[in-house]
């Protein structure tokens, strides 16, 4: 055995972990939480690209992505409630939010965003809701009446007012979506005790990966629903989504790698712990899966799909595949950040292990249930608010 260099004394790994660090406190539920809020923020951005930035080709998915965002937003708190040791006290976060806590703002930011999203949906869907309400009977009629806020006025004057409000809501919705998710990144990024989390880039990486996952989620569900229901897919819309997906993914992947490279290059004493982590317990989930398979392959696929005009059939074949890969990339990134960060003991001398169980409270089965729930909710919403009908379509229907 060679004589260790002087500086390595402290880093010498004897695999000692602090006795309280054996247990990974934030497990699958906290992996899902930023994943779900990310999907919400990303889907909202898609809708805003149409409603605020007037990317006309995104019109087919503009309304759907709002409902997609709502379905996932409804479930965003579920993993948190399942995770809390004392879920019955959850509202204390809103009752007595600690102004210095990064986590305390979530209740308020979530609620405010929920209200803005709900209002935007109510205003955008109002003409459709009014038209459907006139045809509906019984319970559904009452429901549509509530959704139309008891008003049947869809006159040009009313529509003009509504459009002003929609533009305003969408405009404040973008910074709020960014804030919601950048803020989720800060919950991790603000923890100085954890060298994997403590970086000012964390909110940015979380935000960009959120946009990426939201766009990918919209592509997958759009193509899937259209295929299943036998409707025609708007290829130009998918092409545009793919271009945005590539754009956001370039930024996302670049910053993820830059963050790691900066740590490596500066090589502070933290790097020794991070290095041991990335080359040890995280090697497969980070280097092989997240970077190797689910970043590099989609990166080039997206590049070809954006730069070369694919035949429609080929585009519609690759679009869902690349989107699913991106969705998995983001899920892996959440895993590697949330779980990976906790594997390192604060002793800086070793790592613990984490193996999720199927049936425990925060296990794999509850995680699957929580991920399936928004899809079911989305399907239920689809029974009330039509995904693909726009104002022009009301007369035709």
């Amino acid at each position: 055995m060679s004589v260790a260099a002087h500086g390595e004394t402290i880093a010498a790994v004897s695999n000692y972990i602090f006795p309280n660090d054996l247990h990974v406190h934030w497990s699958l539920m906290i992996v899902l939480y930023p994943y779900i809020t990310g999907l919400v923020a990303g889907a909202f951005i898609v809708s805003s690209l149409y409603h605020v930035f007037h990317i006309k080709s995104l019109k087919p998915v503009a309304r759907f992505s709002l409902l997609f965002a709502l379905a996932f937003l409804i479930c965003a708190t579920w993993p948190l409630l399942n995770h809390l040791g004392r879920p019955e006290r959850a509202l204390s976060m809103m009752l007595t939010p600690n102004p210095t806590s990064a986590m305390a703002g979530f209740g308020y930011i979530y609620s405010a965003y929920f209200i803005v999203l709900l209002l935007e949906i109510i205003f955008i869907f109002r003409p459709v809701v009014v038209a459907l309400g006139q045809k509906a009977t019984g319970g559904m009629k009452a429901l549509y009446s509530v959704l139309a806020i008891g008003s049947d006025n869809v006159s040009a004057k009313a529509m003009k007012l509504d459009h002003k409000i929609i533009a305003f809501l969408a405009a404040i919705g973008i910074p709020m979506a960014c804030f919601l998710h950048g803020y989720v990144g800060f919950i991790f990024g603000g923890i100085k005790a954890n060298p994997l989390w403590a970086t000012p880039l964390m909110p940015l990486i979380f935000l960009l990966s959120a946009c990426v996952s939201g766009i990918a989620g919209i592509i997958v569900t759009y193509i899937l629903i259209m295929k299943v229901s036998g409707k025609e897919i708007d290829v130009e819309c998918v092409q545009t989504l793919i271009k945005f997906l590539w754009g956001f993914f370039i930024l996302d992947f670049t910053f993820e790698m830059l963050e790691l490279f900066s740590h490596f290059y500066m090589a502070t004493h933290h790097w020794h712990t991070l290095d041991a982590l990335y080359s040890g317990p995280l090697f497969n989930t980070f280097w092989v899966a997240q970077v190797g398979i689910f970043s590099v392959i989609p990166f080039f696929l997206l590049m070809f799909m954006s730069l070369i005009r694919f035949k429609d059939g080929l585009l519609l074949f690759f679009a869902p595949i690349v989107s699913i890969m991106i969705l998995l990339q983001v899920l892996l990134m959440r895993w590697n950040v949330v779980i990976g960060g906790q594997l390192m003991s604060k002793s800086e001398r070793g790592a613990t292990t984490f193996h999720p169980m199927w049936l425990e409270k925060e296990g794999i089965l509850p995680a699957i249930i929580i991920m399936v729930a928004p899809v079911v909710i989305l399907w239920l919403i689809g029974k009330i608010l039509p995904f693909w009908m726009d104002d022009d379509g009301i007369e035709a229907a």
Binding site: M1, V3, A4, H6, E8, T9, I10, A12, S14, Y16, F18, P19, N20, D21, L22, H23, H25, W26, H83, L84, G85, R86, P87, R89, A90, S92, M93, L95, T96, P97, N98, T100, S101, A102, M103, A104, F106, I187, G190, I191, K192, A193, N194, Q342, S345, K346, S347, E348, R349
Partner: protein, 273 residues
Amino acid sequence: MKEIVDIVDIKKEIKKDRRAFIKNVLSGTIAGSLLMVIPAGAALDQRLPEQLPGMRGNDSPFTEKKFAFIVDVTACIGCGSCCVADKNEYNVPDGNYRTWVERYIIDDHDEVFVDSPNGGLDGYTKPRKDIPNPVRDTFFVPKLCNMCEKPSCVQVCPVGATYKTEDGFILVDKKRCVGCGYCIQACPYSVRFLNPVSRTAEKCTWCYHRVREGLLPACVNVCPTHARKFGDLNDKKSEVYKILREPHVISVLKPDMGNQPALHYLGLRREVV
């Protein structure tokens, strides 16, 4: 009714002459059963010596003291008395540690080996067999809450369940903690855990309840080698004040975290994290 009269009588007796009273009880002059009706608080105060002056009977919410905890690494023998006392004081669930003792072994190739089997609760009875080179130095390091001047846990607690008192104690309100675990992530020293019974965050309090009764923290009280020291820095005559004033090798853990712990280590080596 008779019982109440008895209690009053007993209290009077105790006040009159405690020593004689207990002597009488022991010699059987007063029926042994009478002793059994002394209410808890009164019995506690009478029997325990006051280890920290001026604390007992002080009902103000905060004391005027500035407490400091000093661990003398050069004196610790790794017996684990402190860990045993701590577990007994709080019935800490197995696998969680409010305090623990680490064993450091540095070999002559500068390799550092650390372990803390069951947090040192069972003591160190076996030598490590996996040290490849001759051992240069070996020592024990007790760990506990650092009672930071700038506590990360208080900063991140979303509901104000973890707080810092004006006299420097960082405490956890069991009735308000939501069990989110954020403080556990934020603490650079990993002194916190989620109590599996109460499902709330828990950590060492420097035995706040004992200190307010004028008693030393349980671990300090039982330490046979006086490796754990506790006292008031405002008291110029206190041992902790003298140690911090004199030119010893004194440090805190992870000083670059900026938490400014009130837990100091005497004779701390740089290998200790």
